[in-house]
């Protein structure tokens, strides 16, 4: 029958909503409110997976975030998800899951052969072998890789959406157990903005798992009322299925909300998950505690669970996971499971490590006549797969050995409780220091940071009464600290569980030495045993961090939630140091694994990085021009005609600019408005040349250096008024140059009276170049005289072009007669179209960045970032002429005087001509003086720019060559992997050597 372990009544599942699901190809049924784990247990499915290293059979161990074993492959195709924790997967209709790390099937897994050889695979064995023959490592490794890994990665892109958002609040409460809910109530009632989150589908934490009474009624009544009140408070936001995964600086907490997962499949526009960045004035951590397993021989068989999990399955999910139970515990909480099982009709024996057990639940169990074996241990377990029995033995008084003979108890369910560890992960991430509490045998928060409050089990306060009173107090204190007045609230009266003294035995004794019989697992996921830990210590790996890394304890997908404390306690015993001296490993985000896609959210594809568009973008798109990325801008690369190759298009564009007219959108050039009486002082600092005598209306080219003396930007600056300049920069350098000048102004020369403003986007810039440029523009303007005398090279005029108010600059990046027309950006396309129409008779030709690069290279003009790379001085570029000898100082000046920057044999910018005029050297090619049959060869420099130039009628190249200027005329070689190209060193100029063409 189905749901064999489902109890006829009780639990918080919705029996009116049965849900079908597939596990390893078999159909099962559960109910709404189930997790995959509870539904499997309801159907008596315990054996769900294989362990990482030995492929041992593993069952469900826990009931929540701590689960190390029950990892499944969820769903198929693009929605498949490896390593889903069955205890945290909410059941939905049609869910498909399967076991991982087993082949061909879970039952008949070939990898299980590893188990047979497990004796020669202790911790760290791989560091000791697979070294011979050396060439075999890659082969060994292939097998190791296949054996490792757990689930299978998806092979298709993710069909789901993820969102990310920021949120601010006065009080963030993490954990909605009794402590967290009380805190949220206290804070919420004050009017503060409160966010309450819990990773589980249902709020309530331990109240859902444990029987207890508040104010004389079942605790769940209090829970319902409290949640009702919270939901009615307008400034309180309650987020179930939301994990606080990271606690970052200054109270920034990362949350991951699972919105769509429990619905299965797609949900229209609804995102699958949402990542929240919460900036909280105050944080209350009420994250509870996690139960520890006990370490005994073969403690990993399916059917062996945490005691609290058994209790949770009975009380919350109405599942009694077995018919005959044994509970092994060193404390009173383990009895909770025993009583729950007994209540469900399962026969139970309690093996209590304590010689004189106490505690209210123990008393109840004894009163009910339950079999209790005090001072006993579980020496080993039986079963091939699911546990079928345990051997129990009396212990010596010190708990280190066994006495007498063992007794076998047949059972199909074992619960273990090794005490509780407060869930201090977030607290520790925030920088909190831990303190070891001997009585609890646990690390608890040791100090209280400002802006942070703790309540309940996370503090080691394990009683329900304490959880509530601390919760109310923490919530009120947090609200007060955030500036609200919290009225004192009566703390409800509680009956129920209060803790009793426990006994900690970190490894249970048995009749055989450790490691000789079965395996005593500490880290279930990574198959780390107590013997492995001791081996690590024996080999000198004594620091807790070394033990972690050598054995991989705590490095699995559960991050050691159930294993870390046991491991370090065993370590402490082995090295003979106290537990606090051994310390813990570092808690790191995320608390539980977070989907990569949620971190990425929607900033992908076109939204990965903003696309910046110029005014002619749409026009260029329509004519089919491809774009090039320049910084965030899209710039038109070239304008192919139908069927034309890039090469042909660029050749055509380059020729047009020199024979008639080329037109280019140069709007992306950086533009900075500089105003103020000290503007010229600033210019004198940032440029290498002098700026004192520039007349209004005139322009000048400048080179900028960083303080290390290296070229970092260039451009033309124009004086447009008495104290008013218009600076241009390279496209990609624009933000950097403005930031650089602002930094100097504000930090070094705050007394300068200068204002800098980016006006890059205020102006669309259309460049018109070529012998017919003047003619064309004169047809479109009435108020700008274009003759040389009134409008010489390197000057600017204001007026109208095509009826649009314009600033026209007569400057040239092509060496041709050329004008850069700046108009208000919203008229940029209008100007472009006016020019195109009027220019038809000149066969005006739009050109893109590629042609622009060829044109400037023909003239030997540099492109910063292409012909320079941050290691090039003005002298290297042969541009000493632009470095003022007279100015007392400018940025970078002193660096030019250092030994290395003064050397004659630095790399100089030169031209290179190939022997074969039609062959272009690949850019980046290295130049050598002397060819050798094989490397190494001494390199002299490299090719920075290289093109075929239709205007020169041959290929041309610029290169940075050691002592290059002295080599002009020399023959060198571009040494490529597949060929060598003979080249001759020339001046870095190839066209219009006299420079007369700028005058038309």
């Amino acid at each position: 029958m189905t749901q064999k372990n489902r109890l006829p009544e009780g639990g918080r599942i919705d029996r009116t909503r049965p849900l079908g699901f597939l596990f390893n190809g078999r159909r099962y049924t559960g109910f709404a409110g189930d997790t995959l784990a509870s539904a499997l247990l309801a159907n008596d499915v315990h054996f769900v997976g294989r362990s990482f290293k030995y492929h041992r059979k593993r069952g469900i161990l826990g009931s929540g975030a701590e689960e190390p074993n029950a990892l499944v492959q969820l769903e198929l195709g693009g929605r498949t998800e490896p390593n889903a924790r069955a205890t945290q997967v909410d059941l939905y209709e049609g869910l498909i899951a399967s076991s991982q790390n087993c082949w061909p099937t879970l039952e008949a897994d070939l990898g299980a052969a590893n188990s047979l050889l497990s004796r020669i695979y202790p911790a760290g064995f791989y560091y000791k072998t697979f070294m011979w023959p050396p060439s075999f490592w890659m082969t060994y490794e292939r097998f190791i890789r296949r054996a490792a890994g757990l689930g299978r990665p998806p092979r298709e892109p993710d069909p789901d959406r993820y969102e990310k958002a920021w949120r601010h609040c006065d009080v963030l409460v993490v954990g909605a157990g009794p402590a967290g809910i009380a805190a949220a109530l206290a804070a919420g009632r004050s009017g503060a903005r409160v966010i309450l989150v819990d990773e589980q589908a249902e709020l309530g934490g331990s109240l859902l798992s444990r029987k207890g009474a508040i104010d004389g009624a079942p605790a769940t009544h209090w829970l319902d009322t409290a949640l009702g009140e919270l939901r009615s408070l307008p400034e309180v936001m309650v987020l179930p299925r939301t994990t606080a995964y990271g606690y970052y600086d200054h109270n920034m907490i990362g949350l991951i909300e699972r919105i769509g997962d429990h619905r299965g499949g797609s949900n229209g526009g609804v995102p699958r998950q949402r990542l929240w960045h919460v900036r909280a004035k105050q944080v209350v951590l009420a994250t509870g505690a996690i139960e520890r397993p006990l370490v005994f021989s073969d403690n990993d068989r399916p059917g062996i669970l945490l005691a609290s999990a058994i209790e949770t399955y009975v009380n919350r999910y109405a599942v009694a996971a077995g018919r005959r139970g044994v509970i092994v515990t060193g404390n009173d909480t383990g009895y909770g499971a025993a009583l729950a099982l007994a209540g469900a009709g399962t026969a139970v024996t309690v093996v209590d490590l304590r010689t004189e057990p106490t505690g209210p639940q123990h008393e109840t169990a004894r009163a009910r006549g339950m079999e209790i074996l005090a001072g006993h241990t579980v020496a080993r377990t039986f079963g091939n797969g699911r546990v079928t029995g345990v051997e129990v033995m009396p212990m010596t008084a010190d708990g280190e050995g066994v006495v007498g003979s063992g007794r076998r108890i047949e059972c199909d369910l074992v619960g273990m409780s090794g005490g509780w560890s407060p869930t201090v992960h977030l607290y520790s991430q925030s920088g909190g220091k831990l303190r070891y509490d001997e009585a609890l045998a646990a690390f608890v928060p040791g100090n209280f940071r400002s802006g942070q409050h703790l309540a309940g089990a996370v503090r080691g306060s394990f009683g329900l009464g304490a959880a509530l009173s601390e919760g109310f107090a923490a919530g009120a204190a947090a609200a007060e600290a955030a500036g609200f007045r919290a009225a004192a609230a009566p703390v409800p009266a509680v009956e129920g569980y209060e803790p009793a003294p426990q006994r900690m035995l970190w490894v249970l004794p048995s009749s055989k030495p450790l490691g000789h019989g079965g395996k005593n697992f500490v880290d279930f996921q990574n198959d780390v045993t107590a013997a492995d830990l001791k081996l690590a210590v024996r080999e000198g790996y004594r620091s807790v961090e070394h033990v972690k890394r050598y054995t991989t304890t705590g490095m699995g997908t559960d991050q050691g939630k159930t294993s870390n404390i046991n491991a370090l306690a065993i370590l402490s015993e082995t090295v003979g140091a106290a537990i606090p001296a051994v310390g813990t490993t570092t808690f790191r985000p995320p608390y539980t694994p977070v989907t990569v896609g949620a971190f990425a959210s929607r900033d992908l594809g076109d939204l990965l990085d903003p696309i910046r568009r110029t005014p002619t973008h749409g026009w260029a798109e329509k004519v089919g021009a491809p774009f090039e990325n320049v910084g965030q801008w899209k710039r038109t690369w070239y304008f192919p005609k139908a069927g034309e190759t890039m090469h042909a298009a660029v050749n055509r564009e380059v020729k047009a600019a020199r024979t008639s007219i080329g037109i280019v959108d140069a709007s992306t050039l950086g533009k900075i408005d500089i105003q103020g009486p000290d503007a010229v002082k600033l210019l004198n600092w940032v440029y290498t040349n002098a700026w004192d005598n520039l007349a209004i209306g005139r322009s000048r080219y400048g080179l900028m250096l960083d303080e290390n003396g290296m070229v970092f930007d260039d451009g033309v600056t124009t004086r447009i008024g008495e104290n008013h300049y218009h600076m241009t920069t390279t496209t990609s350098g624009a933000p950097r140059v403005l930031a650089w000048m602002e930094e100097w102004l504000q930090c070094e020369w705050p007394h300068y009276r200068v204002f800098l403003t980016s006006v890059t986007e205020q102006w669309a810039t259309i460049g018109v170049a070529g012998p017919n440029a003047r003619k064309l523009i004169s047809e479109l303007t009435q108020d700008i005289a274009l003759e040389d005398e009134s409008f010489p090279f390197m000057s600017m005029k204001e007026g109208h072009v095509a009826g649009i108010p314009a600033r026209v600059f007569r400057i040239s990046f092509t060496g041709e007669l050329s004008y850069e027309i700046n108009v208000p950006t919203s008229y940029g396309l209008a100007l472009w179209q006016a020019l195109m129409t009027a220019g038809e008779k000149y066969e005006i030709t739009p050109y893109g960045t590629e042609a622009m690069h060829v044109l400037r290279a023909e003239k030997g003009y540099i492109i910063v970032g292409q012909d320079t790379d941050g290691t090039v001085t003005p002298g290297d570029l042969g541009m000493d002429w632009i470095v003022s000898k007279k100015k007392p100082d400018f940025l970078g000046k002193r660096s030019l005087a250092r030994a290395d920057t003064r050397r004659d044999d630095r790399k100089h910018l030169v031209g290179l001509l190939t022997q074969n005029p039609s062959e272009a050297i690949p850019e980046g090619a290295q130049i050598v003086g002397e060819l050798k049959p094989r490397p190494p060869m001494k390199m002299l420099g490299h090719v920075t720019s290289s093109y075929y130039s239709p205007n020169v009628g041959r290929s041309i190249a610029l290169a940075l060559i050691e002592g290059g200027r002295a080599r002009i005329g020399q023959e060198l070689h571009a040494a490529l992997p597949d060929r060598n190209i003979r080249v001759t060193v020339t001046e870095p100029r190839f066209f219009d050597l006299e420079g007369t063409r700028v005058n038309g």
Binding site: F52, T80, P82, N83, R119, F125, Y126, Y127, T129, M131, W132, P134, M138, I144, R145, A148, G149, R152, P153, P154, R155, E156, P157, D158, Y248, D249, P513, E539, G540, R542, S543, E545, R549, Y550, Q559, T586, P590, P593, V594, T595, V596, G597, F599, A600, L604, G605, D609, N629, N708, Q866, T871, R898, D900, E923, G924, A925, Q926, P935, P936, A975
Partner: protein, 419 residues
């Protein structure tokens, strides 16, 4: 010094019979002696390798490695393990290539499997401009006799078909450079293997021993103050990575170094899916898959100084964004752990290895985001420098003097992806 048992499959089987109860320590934990010939400050991979080569290559065995925490716990233990030698300038190419050659025999030399896996390493280019930069580097490497290839789009596809090859991508892939001999190694094993090798040659490895001051008179070093007392030595080599400035401060000088957080992350382990190392500068991320199955990925540095071994979540989130952009199928994998290290960043993205203003005091630092790959040669040349009181030709260019002379070795291009 008892000779160490050789590690092999045979010793594993033999020890299995005695339940592995007879393995000896990989290294001893001795009390510090009052005096050594050489003290190495910092028990990371570089410090341990230095000690190992001092003993092995120079016969100097009276050496102590002082480590403030646990060996390998600094950047050695928290890096993304990318090993390659594809650097631009001759000086760096030679230094890193020397390391790569040592890597190729390291497991056998140390008799400790450092799992050096030459699975090849792709540097993606997302624009013609980036292609040009890669070409320049590849051609230079070839002429230095170092393996490196330029791949076109189809070749990249063949090597790593799960990348996003859409021409409509915001930053579409144009091609890549490939260094086949590049790959990854097991970071922890490198520290442990060198430690075991050094210990076997007599070096004292002293953990939980923080250097808190230097004994300096007349411009010469005579020893160090530590949390475990004064220890004398006339030669002290400091290899403290992110803490280099702190130690320089104790010795009375400054370094051109800034300590920044650098973050990394692993995904949950999955079956093999990525067989090579992939790095992208424009879509900033680099990723490989470890032998345990996790994706190991690294981010860029945080902009501000920090000694906290953690960084801003924004930086890692951007890294995951970049990962999904490049590998859309990784979206549903889950992030298991994120962490940070403190990297010692030099203005020219190249290390400093050599003498200091204090006689007998040597510094090896400034490896920033990329020194793991150099561990063997860094130790090798540093040992030479300490033993001979002058640099080996391989590290001559990497002295502190370059900051005054201006002869910087600008490797920002090769180190554009922090690793």
């Amino acid at each position: 010094m008892p000779a160490k048992t050789r590690y092999s499959i045979f010793s594993l089987v033999r020890n299995a019979f005695s339940y592995h109860e007879n393995w000896e320590e990989a290294w001893r934990s001795p009390e510090p002696r009052p005096e050594y010939d050489v003290i190495i400050v910092g028990g990371g991979g570089h410090g341990l390798a230095t000690a190992y080569y001092l003993a092995k290559e120079h016969g100097i065995t009276n050496v102590a490695v002082l480590e403030k925490g646990w060996i390998g716990g600094g950047n050695t233990g928290r890096n993304t393990t990318v090993v390659r030698s594809n650097y631009l300038w001759d000086e760096s190419a030679h230094l890193y290539e020397h390391a790569l050659k040592l890597w190729e025999g390291l497991s056998q030399e140390l008799n400790f499997n450092v799992m050096f896996s030459q699975r090849g390493l792709l540097n993606l280019a997302h624009s013609p401009h980036e292609m040009r930069g890669l070409a320049r580097r590849v051609y230079a490497l070839n002429l230095n006799g170092i393996d490196s290839e330029l791949l076109n789009l189809e070749q990249v596809r063949a090597m790593c078909p799960i990348l996003n090859f859409s021409p409509k991508a915001r930053y579409p892939i144009y091609g890549a450079s490939l260094q086949r001999r590049g790959g990854v190694a097991r970071h922890d094993a490198v520290a442990w293997g060198y430690a075991r090798g050094a210990d076997a040659r007599g070096v004292d490895i002293i953990q939980n021993c923080e250097v808190t001051g230097f004994q300096i008179s007349n411009g010469k070093v005579h020893g160090v103050e530590t949390t475990r007392g004064t220890i004398r030595a006339n030669k002290v080599g400091v290899v403290a990575a992110g803490h280099s400035s702190v130690l320089a401060d104790l010795a009375g000088f400054r370094l051109p170094i800034q300590s920044h957080p650098l973050q990394a992350a692993v995904s949950e382990p999955v079956k093999p899916i990525l067989d090579t190392v992939v790095m992208s500068g424009a879509v900033h991320v680099y990723v490989s898959q470890s032998d345990k199955g996790e994706l190991v990925l690294g981010a860029g540095i945080d902009s501000y100084n920090s000694y906290s071994q953690r960084g801003s979540p924004k930086v890692v989130e951007d890294m995951f964004g970049a990962l999904v952009e490049l590998f859309p199928i990784f979206s549903r994998l889950k992030v298991l752990r994120t962490w940070g290290g403190i990297v010692d960043v030099c203005p020219d993205a190249s290390p400093i290895i050599g003498r200091t203003p204090v006689e007998g005091l040597y510094f090896n630092c400034g490896w920033g985001t990329g020194g793991f790959k150099a561990t063997p040669s860094s130790g090798w040349v540093f040992a030479h420098t300490i033993a001979n009181d002058r640099p080996h030709p391989l590290n001559e260019a990497f002295g502190l003097e370059r900051f005054s002379s201006g002869h910087l070795i600008d490797e920002h291009g090769a180190a554009a992806v922090a690793h």
